[in-house]
Amino acid sequence: MNFVAIKHVTFRYARRQPPVIDDFSCTLNKGEVVGILGASGSGKSSLLRLVAGLELPEKGSIMIDGMMMVNDGLYVDVENRGVGMVFQDYALFPHLNVVENIAFGLHKLKRAARKERVQEMLELVQLTDYAKRYPHELSGGQQQRVALARALAPKPSILLMDEPFSSLDASLKTSIRSELRQILRKAEMTCLLVSHDAADIEAICDRSIRIQKEMAEATA
């Protein structure tokens, strides 16, 4: 049985517009890192938002870790899905420092356990020395690693990453790519990663899915 199953999902932002995602299906196995490729505006971000529960599909169903998240009659709220997400420009909370950002999703743990988990995450992304810094005091690459640590900390069943490299310059990108790959492997994460750069996906992912060109044109 597949770990994640997206079946016949159709979605549109406004009633009168053509669908952004039309009858899309795919499956992921546990621990698999899958890349999603597609032109700009083809609906990659929208797909991730659907999986996360930030948008509601018009038709279709999404199943994660053997549990139905959304179908015709059912909708599990974002906060109850156990999905981790790294946003395009990271969305680190500017009023919290690195530790507080990472601990944000660990509210269900006891104090000691929370502290331990944060430490673990800091070590995983090698930011132990930056624990007390605020997001604006970090470089782009460091911010990205904090966002990753924050998303991984609550042990989500699946990690969603939207253009994780878009705000990084090219030289940084290569080193961070391999780093990210190692982190994901180490954490045995099932991951859905969006990028418009095929090289990114090739470097990190086990396989890739292309959102079809026809659909992109239909939405343009």
Partner: protein
């Protein structure tokens, strides 16, 4: 919004006899009085505001940078305070005439300076309200006009034709918004007109209510005034419809002012100085002098009560306003854009509605509520026909909330506009629910907007006069009502201390606005 609807419904109730009298003998005077005040003040304030804004933006002259923000300061002086300050200063025993008489032996024929007239009222209102036009037009010209104006300059337009042919039409939306603010303030005014003995619709509402005890007619007057104001509101939207403020914000660069030299430059400085002196320094100095004469007498134990009253009433109302504003701005954010627009228009409509109208609506609704609840009161042993709600502070607070919701809401709304949605979304993917996300993420990030909104609103409320006069419980005095009471009792010098405090408080919010503008 309910009280406002109630006022409007007043139009459809049957008329009583008194209304016939009011209509026959008084209505024309009221309407003419209001119209005159609004038209002239609107016109002069627009003229003064635009000319000063263009001077400050378009040319360099000595002290230009100072006047750029200093000319906003007159907003800190409530017009009713300016009114009695000026009228006392220019009276026979006042500073101006006595100095002329004693130092220079010049005797002015009586009536040379007659500030207690409709001209005087227009003078005062113009001088202390023009900064609305000045501020909006200046900001607009600084941000949006560079390319057009530089082009016109290259084409060799003269200064005057540049002003008339380019600056005026270009800044029309800003001027209209500014003038509308002035007009709403004038309609709302009670202090200036009543002190100067002018007949306006606002003073008429007071007279029919307190003089004739005819609440029905007062409501009817209020309803007509409300119709006029709604009309103006619609016209404003219509006039601004074609020209969006932020048409080209993205590529706009600041306008470089042109060098002005010699007499012209000093002339500009002199002009700005005169306005600044008249509209700020002179009345402020006068009030400070008066305060030094009387503060030992006025600064007594009950003065502290007064400040506590002012502050606590305003603080409660402001707190409620901020909570409602936060809730509704947050709801609006989740709605579709046209619905959200409707919510925000509804929440901010109150600022256009004169205090007297809000007061009447609130009073009527509260009395009706008291009647509904009369059985409950009887059961509680309060006796038949007891008025509980309508004698309590809650009535005044409700009035404040309706009237000043806009100030708080605007602050929160602009805070939310700067707060990317993605923070809330991130918080939710991390397992925090909707409410938790609000408290843990949105609220801390909106802190600045909430504080700003709080200060602006509390200051507006503390300055407020007509609504407070009408809705306060028996023996409840605020700084504003006490000031006004001293003034109509001809105890002008005694009014100086509360006035000074009010100006000081208002100054906080004006300076805050100036600072916020700089940040943008």
């Amino acid at each position: 919004m309910l009280p406002i609807l109630y006022v409007l419904l007043g139009l459809f109730r049957p008329t009583n006899e008194n209304w016939q009298i009011v209509k026959q003998y008084l209505l024309t005077d009221y309407v003419l009085g209001s119209a005159k005040l609004v038209l002239f003040t609107g016109f002069f304030a627009a003229l003064l505001g635009v000319v000063l804004a263009w001077l400050v933006v378009g040319y360099t002259f000595p002290l230009r940078r100072f006047f750029r923000w200093a000319l906003v300061l007159p907003l800190a002086v409530p017009p009713y305070i300016a009114a009695y300050t000026y009228s006392t200063m220019t009276s026979y025993t006042g500073f101006i005439q006595s100095t002329l008489r004693n130092q220079f032996d010049i005797k002015l024929p009586p009536g040379t300076i007659e500030i207690m007239s409709s001209k005087g009222a227009i003078f005062i209102m113009t001088l202390f309200l023009f900064p609305y036009v000045f501020m909006l037009t200046r900001t607009f010209l600084e941000r949006q006009s560079a390319s057009y104006i530089e082009n016109a300059r290259l084409l060799g337009r003269s200064r005057l034709s540049l002003f008339i042919k380019v600056v005026l039409p270009l800044s029309r939306p800003a001027i209209i918004s500014g003038v509308m603010l002035v007009v709403f303030e004038v309609f709302s005014d009670y202090g200036v007109a009543s002190y100067f003995g002018m007949q306006t619709v606002s003073t008429a509402i007071f007279q029919t209510w307190f003089g004739m005890y005819d609440v029905d007619s007062a409501i009817r007057l209020a309803a007509w005034l409300l119709i006029v104001i709604i009309g103006l509101f619609v016209i404003e939207r219509f006039l601004r419809r074609n020209r969006q403020f932020n048409a080209t914000t993205s590529q706009s660069r600041p306008l470089k002012p042109q060098q002005m030299k010699g007499i012209a430059a000093w002339g500009a400085t002199a002009f700005c100085s005169i306005i600044f002196l008249l509209a700020f320094i002179v009345p402020l100095t006068q009030i400070i002098v008066w305060t030094t004469w009387t503060y030992h007498k006025i600064w007594r134990a009950d003065f502290i009560d007064l400040m506590v009253n002012s502050l606590s009433g305003a603080a409660i109302a402001t707190a409620v306003i901020m909570i409602i504003a936060l809730l509704s701005a947050r709801t609006a954010r989740m709605l579709s854009s046209s619905l959200a627009y409707g919510v925000s228009r509804l929440m901010t409509a109150g600022y256009a509605i004169p205090g007297a109208i809000v007061a009447i609506g609130v009073l009527a609704v509260f009395i009706a509520l008291d009647q509904r609840l009369s059985t409950v009161y009887e059961w509680l042993g309060k006796g038949e026909g007891a008025l509980v709600l309508s004698l309590s502070l809650s009535m005044l607070i409700t009035g404040y909330i309706i009237r000043f919701m806009a100030t708080g809401y605007n602050a929160i709304e602009s805070g939310y506009e700067k707060l990317p949605r993605v923070y809330t979304e991130a918080s939710r993917t991390l397992g925090r629910g909707n409410t938790k996300s609000f408290f843990k993420v949105e609220l801390p990030l909106l802190k600045g907007a909430v504080i700003t909104g709080f200060i602006l609103t509390i200051v507006e409320i503390m300055k407020e006069l007509p609504l407070t006069l009408l809705l306060r419980p028996f023996n409840f005095d605020t700084l504003a009502t006490r000031t006004y009471q001293y003034a109509i009792d001809e105890r002008i010098y005694d009014a100086a201390l509360p006035s000074l405090l009010l100006i000081g408080i208002s100054l906080i919010s004006v300076l805050l606005i100036v600072r916020l503008e700089k940040e943008k």
